[in-house]
Assembly symmetry: C2
Homo-oligomer: 321 residues x 2
């Protein structure tokens, strides 16, 4: 059986291997990704984002549980920011989630950011495709940090959850810093802590001020209590899970799903172009030693980066400059 | 007088305009950047990074003050994360810093992340060059967020400050998440808060465990008290300022400065190549409507992104595929 057929059949080993190959930029992975592309587009992709320490993994674990109760299958992709030096994932504390390891309806993988050439974004997109092609009903993508990376999740997700906790300092500042507009659902986690209702009030006030089109989606603010009180936690996460499905239904009913799909597609094409256009040129420059010579010329201030890059473009591009 | 001469002479208006043009990707800016490149490489570039709310702007303000006392001139570049939708900078609260606006030895500008094509990194590098060419002794680059962006600052900075505050949740997790290795100096800000000494102990323990080469630089941990007690704050920031200079002296004495310079140069060349190779192709695809047609083919699952990108590469690349 070909790898694409295995993936379609939900083969965990084939899927894991493919995701590892995607992460390591193994050329063969490209061929498989091509062959499974037509199987994709069925899963609801949910981005889960927030600063380190807000409890994303715990929430993801709760959401897996809630989905399984509705007999929905789930893929989870944890995107780890990685040191540019060590090259390995550093967050290993997803032990709790491992209790789902035996459940064939759940597939959990993490993805580390290895290269510095911005390949992560493409790898995330491809790994989502793998889980989608496996037939998972929902793909949860957990990202860490509040930088560029988070904002990128909107290119892939149908629904974006922004997780906040009370008392982490200037949450509202964090929200203002570009992440307000990407949220489809706000989650106040650890909502039994001091400051939860203040945070909720501030969020509500901010939403009141933001322009929402008539009939548009106003991001709900869902509070989730401590996971140390399992019953309450389960109830809260159940509510969150229902809201996630509601958002998808809203997208479908309002025809906005087409816009999101188009946005995803354009982004994906951009990433593929970067890989097919820029990387071959870099490979030639490295293998011929030309890159080293250019660096020496720059260090001696003999030339500047822009002029050198233009020389390269003249040599390797045709029909567009 | 040409713009390059004006920049060299420290003309604030010319420099501001050039940075704005860099941000807006105005083609003419490229020509000026080329002409000032040979003037660059003299300033100490200091990256200042940490989660929103840790007090980066207040520290930058203190560092400006400390540098001016030593009669050093300072450039400040505040990198704002921007909503992918609104396209404008969202953090306007740098009012305090504005008291330096009248001081000709201080030049403060902010840079927003506009495009989604990853142009920010290149813009940051170019804006640093402008301040460097103006003759500023030190360029402070303030970045927000804990994602990709922060890790990128190492490509531009000689010295990276990672700012933490007590009681923001899992600081240590944040540190582990890739930013540990980029820090040359740790700063515990708002160190009069509860938990400061615990945080300091944890940082020290982590540094004890990390391998530092004999004669290597062990990142010092500097505590800075509240800016509401001006005398203490000034003393603490004075210490920080001295440590920043010490780190630069260390780089020079140990010859590591050459490695950092090489790393900066390679990164800059990569960015320039992306701009000169990828962007012309995208421009042609957009202007001929080819991009739209490709998106339609993808939406109908007629083809996949990778195959389409390869077709484009075959058409526009020569001599490297």
């Amino acid at each position: 059986m070909g790898i694409d057929k295995k993936i379609k059949a939900g083969d965990v080993r084939a899927a894991s291997r493919l995701i590892r190959d995607i992460e390591d930029s193994i050329p063969a992975a490209k061929v498989t990704i091509k062959s499974i592309f037509s199987l994709t587009g069925k899963a609801q992709v949910v981005g889960i984002t927030g600063s380190p320490g807000v409890g994303k993994s715990t929430l993801v674990d709760g959401l897996i549980e809630a989905s399984r109760k509705k007999e929905k299958t789930v893929g989870v992709l944890a995107v780890d920011p990685t040191s540019p030096f060590t090259g390995g994932a550093t967050l290993g504390d997803r032990i709790r989630m491992q209790r789902h390891a035996e459940d064939p309806g759940v597939f959990i993988r993490s993805l580390a950011t290895r290269g510095s050439l911005g390949g992560l974004s493409k790898a995330v997109g491809d790994a989502i495709h793998v889980m989608d092609a496996m037939g998972k009903d929902m793909v949860l993508v957990e990202t860490v940090g509040t930088g560029q990376q988070e904002v990128e999740i909107i290119h892939y997700a149908h629904t974006v959850l922004v997780i906040l906790v009370p008392g982490m300092g200037d949450e509202i500042q964090a929200i203002k810093a570009g992440i307000m507009e990407i949220a489809d659902i706000f989650v106040i986690n650890k909502a039994d802590r001091d400051g939860a209702s203040k945070l909720q009030r501030e969020l509500m006030a901010m939403l009141d001020m933001s322009r929402i089109a008539p009939g548009g989606w106003r991001p709900p603010v869902i509070t989730v209590g401590s996971s140390f009180k399992p019953d309450d936690f389960e109830k809260d996460v159940g509510r969150l899970s229902a809201t996630i499905l509601e958002h998808y239904e809203y997208l479908v009913k309002s025809n906005l799903i087409g816009d999101r799909l188009r946005r995803k597609t354009i982004h994906e094409l951009n990433e593929a172009l970067r890989s097919s256009i820029l990387e071959p040129v870099l490979r030639v420059l490295v293998s011929t030693g030309e890159l080293d010579r250019m660096v020496e010329r720059l260090l001696s201030k003999e030339s500047d980066p822009c002029s050198l890059a233009e020389e390269v473009a003249e040599k390797y591009l045709q029909g567009c400059i």
